[in-house]
Symmetry: C2
DNA sequence: CCCCGCTGTCACCAATCGGTGAGTAGCGGG
DNA sequence: CCCGCTACTCACCGATTGGTGACAGCGGGG
């Protein structure tokens, strides 16, 4: 998949013979999808359009219309691809520790989510997109992302029962919101609410504070 | 200021006589700024451009170049205008309660910030902009917004000393991040991490959870 | 074998973008 | 009254956008 993308991309400026493309619809489709994902991850949703994707995929935009029915279909394909996100981010074992309290679990999950978002530019861009626009396109993508996140959380939680007397849904949503905004702000401007978020030392402080907050509610 | 803006805007489609504009540079400048702020607040940064602002202000874009030196200058003017945000949002008295603990203060501040952001579309759009782009334009605007927020927090805090043993800067940054993301997500999609944020009942639940979190760290 | 279909390319469309230079219109001072 | 300064408008530029129709070339089935 990646090889094909690179090949297609380079075929634009590769000197020498014209380097005729192989006629392989499947490969082209995958190359387009890969190019779209890379483009979105690297450049953001601002300049994400038919022309840009076609340019990066090294093919004509007409093919995007033909194979995906336009940008909407392509975005939908990206959303469908997001389902794989979960599998990649689930450690098989719990790292030797088991029989956790809910507090232990949420602390661990928070830090895992923080790290996962920190090195997933595509997810970050989608998150920013969700916040900035409210088109049908984005709504579908948002739904896919949300479902993936929910599934991830559910898998990680296992069979642990949440404590009583606390609105865990609301509390967890706020914790997740904090994590997401922290990562987004850091990724965009290197800081959040005056807190610098550049060096790994900065992130340690943030992680410590996050742990403290989670521990504060869940003991 | 508002009257002028409305007047200028309507002068486009107002039937009847041409409704000649008065030649008043100051008024035009203010009308442009007001139009820009309204446009940004209502439409977001996506379609925020010279043409759109001029269209909404009911004047030629050339005037924007002349009076503000282009979009950058106009954005800068918006940023400068953000300084007034603080004054509008500071209640004169502390509502009868004084001599608060730091926990009391942060709880109150959190809820105030939540509400303030909830009914300030311009601030929300700027926030979303900060997260989605990293141009010099946005960086300046971000700085102005950040400074306004910091000033607001400082004014509200008064002379209360923070507790020891806690990285209040980091913790507060995370709390603020949570609030901001909550409001942004709600404004865009009506929910955040599976938590619905539409009805006032939804928001009560969120506020309660937020209070619980703040109380958890600051006692 | 030829022909049809599928893959891929190219040329073109109207609309909009940011940006600029030249020209018009009205107010105020002499 | 008239002239000049200034606020303001208009027309145009090249670039880019999303979108469409026509065409080229290879390959497999009749």
């Amino acid at each position: 998949m990646l090889d094909e993308a690179v090949n297609l991309e380079n075929s634009l400026e590769a000197g020498g013979e014209p380097e005729r493309r192989v006629r392989d619809r499947g490969a082209t489709e995958r190359a387009i999808l890969a190019a779209a994902k890379r483009l979105l991850a690297e450049e953001g949703f601002q300049n994400f359009g038919i022309n840009a994707v076609a340019r990066r995929a090294g093919c004509d935009k007409q093919l995007i219309y033909r194979y995906y029915g336009g940008l909407d279909g392509l975005v939908e394909a990206i959303g469908a691809d997001l389902g794989t996100w979960v599998k990649d981010r689930i450690p098989e074992d719990t790292g030797g520790m088991f029989l956790l309290t809910y507090g232990d679990l949420m602390e661990r999950l928070s830090l895992l989510l923080l790290d996962a978002l920190r090195d997933d530019p595509l997810m970050r861009r989608i998150l920013a997109w969700e916040i900035s626009e409210n088109t049908e396109q984005v709504r579908r993508l948002s739904e896919a992302r949300s479902k993936a996140l929910a599934l991830w959380l559910e898998r990680m939680r296992g069979s642990l029962t949440p404590p009583k007397g606390v609105d865990t849904a609301a509390v967890n949503a706020i914790v997740i919101a904090a994590i997401q905004h922290l990562v987004l702000a850091a990724s965009a401007g290197g800081q959040c609410a005056g807190l610098s978020l550049k060096t790994s030392k900065d992130w340690e402080k943030a992680a410590t504070a996050l742990k403290r907050i989670v521990r504060g509610v869940y003991g």
